[in-house]
């Protein structure tokens, strides 16, 4: 697949072949260490330690983190290539297991917030640990009463000497059962304030959330903070920038990662549909010879292709730190998360009853796909944002 992007005042053809080696490598890794465990991860609602160890050993947790603090070196100093490779990694993980992609995603979300807005001391301390995977991170924004309107968080940061006391409840925290560290949003007298909260913080309690519709390996949890003492160096950035800059940086990264993850999950659906429609025979012919099945296949292929290109475009903008990168990323997540639901729907339809049963992964794919339109900004919240970008650009 070819993708054209403007470079300076000329046009350069960035061909996927440039990334073929990395893509083959990362897909092979995901196929070997993640995919064989995807069904069990879904069934048992937990990601085994050996999967995390394999990802850490392969350096996946270091991707996107600054090289000077132990992150992955940018691809030959080319930030666009680094952003694309980061996306291809999430695509490969999304195809292998949406749950595992989620674990790596929230780690990268928290890591990107610390890497972008942490003090030098915070970066020196945390980034090497995050990059190696010795410390797994997650992001804690949502609460029992707070979803899309993150500005209304009720978790409270009260001044206590030179530091803070944190009290409140967080809910639907991906990897809340397992993460060692949380980038957590609270409200303070000065406005929203973010914190770096280690799991071992006295007063921090966890309650697992099981039985989710999809992405059951997210290992979600509720967090209860009961007067958790936070030293000043655990505040990330300052108030009132906790939401608008610190957490928003994490969410922006999460949208990019998730968009690629959706492309991966959709590709898994399409591969399954190809395989099944070639071998399943009805009325004396393989399903692949029926034109209504071909229509679904063509729709899926085109949808995935389009989403892939939107993700590439977002990666290009992010690598170049363009002002439009946030818009491109938002659009990529918006499109890809809906795309994967259409694709999962068609792939399951092709599988018929078999797609609904335990012998094929389609029912898991369809359940996992449904989650994608809700997390990291619901489809409707993203529609508001995209329209706002549109009006801005129309004015200019």
């Amino acid at each position: 697949m070819n993708a054209c992007f403007p470079v300076g005042d000329r046009w350069k053809m960035n061909v996927l072949e440039d990334f073929q080696g990395y893509q083959d490598e990362i897909r092979a890794l995901a196929s070997q260490y993640v995919a064989p465990h995807a069904a069990a991860i879904d069934r048992e609602e937990r990601i085994p330690a050996h999967v995390v160890t394999a990802l850490a050993k392969a350096g996946l947790f270091a991707s996107g983190l600054p090289e000077q603090f132990g992150g992955l070196p940018a691809s030959d100093g080319d930030p666009v290539a680094a952003a694309i490779r980061h996306g291809l990694m999430h695509e490969a993980l999304g195809a292998a297991s949406a749950s595992v992609q989620g674990l790596v995603n929230v780690h990268h979300m928290a890591g990107s917030a610390i890497a972008r807005w942490g003090t030098v001391e915070q970066k020196r301390f945390w980034i090497p640990r995050l990059a190696s995977g010795d410390v797994l991170a997650a992001i804690a924004i949502t609460e029992p009463n707070v979803g899309s309107d993150a500005s209304a968080v009720e978790t409270r940061a009260s001044r206590a000497g030179s530091g803070y006391l944190l009290s409140g409840d967080k809910s639907w925290i991906t990897c809340g059962q397992s993460a060692d560290l949380f980038v957590l949003l609270a409200s303070s007298d000065e406005g929203p304030l973010a914190f770096i909260v280690p799991r071992s913080t006295p007063g921090l309690q966890f309650e697992p959330i099981n039985g989710m519709l999809g992405c059951r390996g997210y290992m979600m949890a509720k967090l209860r903070l009961d007067r958790c003492e936070m030293a000043p160096d655990h505040a990330l950035g300052s108030a009132p920038f906790g939401l608008t800059h610190i957490v928003a940086t994490g969410l922006d990264a999460g949208r990019y990662n998730l968009a690629w993850g959706c492309v991966g999950l959709a590709r898994a659906c399409l591969d399954a549909a190809f395989e099944y429609s070639r071998t399943r025979r009805q009325f004396g012919s393989p399903l692949s010879e029926f034109q209504l099945v071909q229509r679904m296949i063509s729709r899926m292929m085109t949808d995935i292709h389009a989403a892939h290109l939107v993700c590439w475009r977002a990666g290009y903008s992010r690598g170049r730190r363009e002002t439009t990168a946030i818009k491109e990323t938002t659009m990529a997540k918006y499109f890809a998360s809906q795309m994967v639901n259409r694709v999962a729907h068609d792939a399951l339809q092709i599988h018929g009853a078999n797609g609904c049963g335990p012998d094929y992964p389609l029912e898991r794919y369809a359940r996992d796909a449904r989650i994608m339109e809700i997390i990291e900004g619901s489809t409707q919240i993203l529609e508001i944002a995209i329209a706002r970008y549109g009006y801005q650009e129309h004015l200019s």
């Binding site: 500005s151 950035g237 300052s238 920038f241 608008t244 928003a248 363009e322 706002r388």
Partner: protein
Amino acid sequence: MLDAGLTSRIAAFISRSFEGRIVAPDDDIFALGFANSLFAMQLVAFVEKEFRIDIDSEDLEMDNFRSVNALSALVERKLSATAER
């Protein structure tokens, strides 16, 4: 005295983000009711790209972002610090 060209570029960006509303140099842009997290991130991305500077955690002070003039002063400080290096 702030660089008028620099100030007008920042004002133009903010005006576009605020549905074309004219923003006076000392208006509190966060009190106007248009600012949200997406705008805030775009604003950082804009000044970084437009003026080739890096906004760091120590720059995250309300007094640096409150108005067009405040932001212009921050950009000028960053530019002169870069020039001195």
